[in-house]
């Protein structure tokens, strides 16, 4: 199965609020580090090497706009 880009998170507003709350009060550097940790944790959970490659490509695409 490839990268799922269809909506897949129940309660998206609640998730988004939790995500921002997790950053509340962090310095910029600490926010960057938090994001890095979160990415690595989620990447490990996904575990599928092909999916991770696809995800890296999808994220890179946004950067070129």
């Amino acid at each position: 199965m490839g990268l799922n880009t269809a909506p897949n998170i129940p309660d998206p507003d609640g998730f988004y609020a939790d995500l921002l709350n997790a950053h509340e009060g962090l310095s910029d550097d600490n926010s960057i580090a938090f994001n890095a940790r979160l990415i690595l944790i989620l990447a490990n959970h996904i575990g599928d090497r092909a999916v991770l490659t696809e995800a890296l490509a999808a994220a890179a695409k946004g950067d070129t706009q």
């Binding site: 799922n4 880009t5 269809a6 909506p7 897949n8 998170i9 998206p12 507003d13 988004y16 609020a17 995500l19 921002l20 950053h23 509340e24 962090l26 910029d28 926010s31 999808a58 695409k61 946004g62 706009q65």
Partner: protein
């Protein structure tokens, strides 16, 4: 303090008239006095008056203030107004819209369609200037008065002081003819976000202040914008950090610009500065007239409790939200819907006073849900930190290409009525396979029935609804008459009320919320559920 108007009127609807109370030798006692003649106060007077309960409404002006203000009225509000007999003129005057477009900078990120479900009398939303909404309510009051509804609207009657006793409230009132005093068994505070009544009683009103200013410009123009809701994040025309374009009746367009916190309010309200922002947005070739402009800030907060003995607060006086999602006036009307029948039963001695505590609990829950939703929208629209700004903008970028990011885009989650899950008036769900949307606590969804709609037959009193199941025409319970209604299990009704069940019996509250449901009629269960639904359990 003189009774000078604090704002200009759009419609003078209840000019000052001397009341016989002003010539009485002792203060006259009224069952219910409502303070505040805005939409929530007038709807409260209408709800009670239509039940035959005498109600006096006091307002320090003589009609409806200018300005479009709350322009989005949700389906649930229209359904409630329909029950009061004034939904149709609102629908006739209002602008119906379904399509929303979201832009970031100069790109369309995505569009959404409210795709209203078929088989409802009212659309998901209409846009209507608040003064029209209020006028239709007052028109209905006048019509009801002509049919002997005991409603007394008193303009230029300002409450100066209240004295709250255990079993009544004493009110000192100022009028153009001088002061007088009345008493109320129950006092309903609908006097708005800055509620003088709340202040006189020294009650709390705490919450979160959002450090931002929004400029509203209502304009008329000859331009071919479609009847859609357009929202820009960081618009390329630089007229604000966000912008909103929405159509109203009479060829008027509502435009909102987010200005930020540190602004010179007076400077920003100068016509040339407003025009500068509008010109940048609309382009040089569009001719327009300014109808109304205003700058607003907002807060999300509520009172700790809405009921204080004989004084009950409703609408903005009790809770305030940011405007994103149209949850202000719409939630206030749900307050009225919830309070009206309960106060009616208490005044008619059919239910204990404690039933009013369920108003407090259910509507505080509603207020919290609205505050949560509108705070989240505000946090998305006006990011408070660098990292939340980064997240916001990457969500917008990703939403252009990936469906998964679109549910995260939040330019307002539009008002829907709340489900009173798990509250004491409900009897636990006893309909196996019944749809979740009609579980106890939920507002009844509309559906076609005969030449009209199901909701036409529900509300005002308790109804026992049989769907593909027989119920008695009426049932006497504790001096109350429970009205029976059997309907065929047609397509939409079956879908919304039966689910996998072959038949169902619903006990429906006067505010059209489900109190209980079963697969078949059982008199003992119905009696117990009704007792519970009126706070006698």
């Amino acid at each position: 303090m003189p009774l000078d108007d604090r704002y200009q009127l759009a419609f003078k609807l209840y000019p000052y008239e001397r009341s016989t109370d002003q010539d009485a030798s002792a203060p006259v006692r009224h069952p219910v006095v409502v303070v505040g003649g805005g939409p929530i106060g007038v709807a409260t007077a209408l709800d009670l008056g239509l039940q035959g309960i005498p109600v006096v409404l006091l307002d320090d002006h003589e009609g409806v203030g200018q300005g479009s203000r709350a322009i989005c009225f949700a389906k649930r509000t229209l359904e409630i107004a329909h029950r009061y007999g004034c939904g149709q003129p609102m629908l006739d005057k209002g602008v119906i819209w379904n399509l929303g477009k979201v832009f970031h900078d100069d790109r369309q990120v995505y569009e959404f369609n409210l795709l209203p479900e078929q088989g409802h009398r009212y659309p998901a939303f209409i846009n209507l200037q608040q003064p029209y909404f209020e006028r239709f309510l007052v028109d209905r009051v006048r019509e009801a008065q002509a049919q002997d509804a005991p409603i007394d609207l008193r303009g230029k009657n300002r409450v100066q002081a209240v004295e709250v006793k255990d079993d009544h409230v004493v009110l000192d009132i100022t009028t153009p003819d001088g002061p007088y005093r009345i008493e109320a068994d129950w006092l309903i505070g609908c006097d708005g976000a800055s509620s003088p009544l709340r202040k006189m009683m020294g009650l709390d009103f705490e919450g979160r202040v959002f450090e931002d200013n929004f400029l509203i410009a209502d304009i008329t123009m000859k331009a071919d914008f479609p009847t859609e809701r357009w929202f820009w994040f960081e618009p390329h025309f630089k007229s604000g950090d966000s912008a909103l374009l929405h159509k109203q009746p009479d060829g008027v367009w509502r435009i909102d610009f987010q200005l930020g916190w540190d602004i010179d309010r007076k400077e920003e309200l100068k016509e040339e500065n407003i025009r500068r922002r509008l010109d940048a947005m609309l382009g040089p070739d569009v001719d327009y007239e300014l109808v109304w402009t205003s700058i607003y800030t907002f807060q999300c907060r509520r009172m700790k409790r809405f009921r204080h003995g004989r004084v009950i607060f409703a609408g903005d006086a009790a809770h305030q939200v940011s405007p994103f999602g149209a949850r202000g006036a719409n939630s206030g009307i749900q307050d009225v819907d919830n309070l009206g029948w309960k106060l009616g039963l208490v005044l008619n001695e059919k239910a204990p006073h404690s039933l009013l505590d369920s108003y407090d609990a259910e509507r505080r829950y509603g207020a919290d849900e609205n505050i949560l939703n509108s705070s989240r929208s505000t946090d998305f629209i006006t990011p408070k930190s660098k990292i939340s700004h980064v997240f916001r903008n990457v969500v917008l970028d990703l939403a252009e290409h990936h469906a998964f990011a679109r549910p995260l885009v939040n330019s307002g989650r539009l008002s829907v009525p709340c489900v009173y899950d798990g509250f004491p008036l409900n009897t636990p769900d006893a309909l196996p396979g019944g749809p979740a949307r009609t579980r106890p606590g939920a507002p009844c969804p509309d559906a076609p029935l005969g030449q009209g709609f199901l909701l036409d037959h529900l509300g005002r009193d308790f109804v026992l609804l049989g769907v593909g199941a027989d119920v008695q025409d009426q049932l006497e319970v504790d001096g109350m008459t429970l009205r029976g209604l059997s309907v065929p299990a047609d397509a939409d009704i079956a879908d919304r009320y039966l689910g996998e069940a072959s038949g169902a019996v619903y006990l429906i509250r006067p505010d059209q919320h489900v109190a209980a449901r079963w697969p078949a009629f059982d008199e003992d269960l119905v009696r117990a559920a009704l007792a519970r639904a009126i706070g006698k359990d």
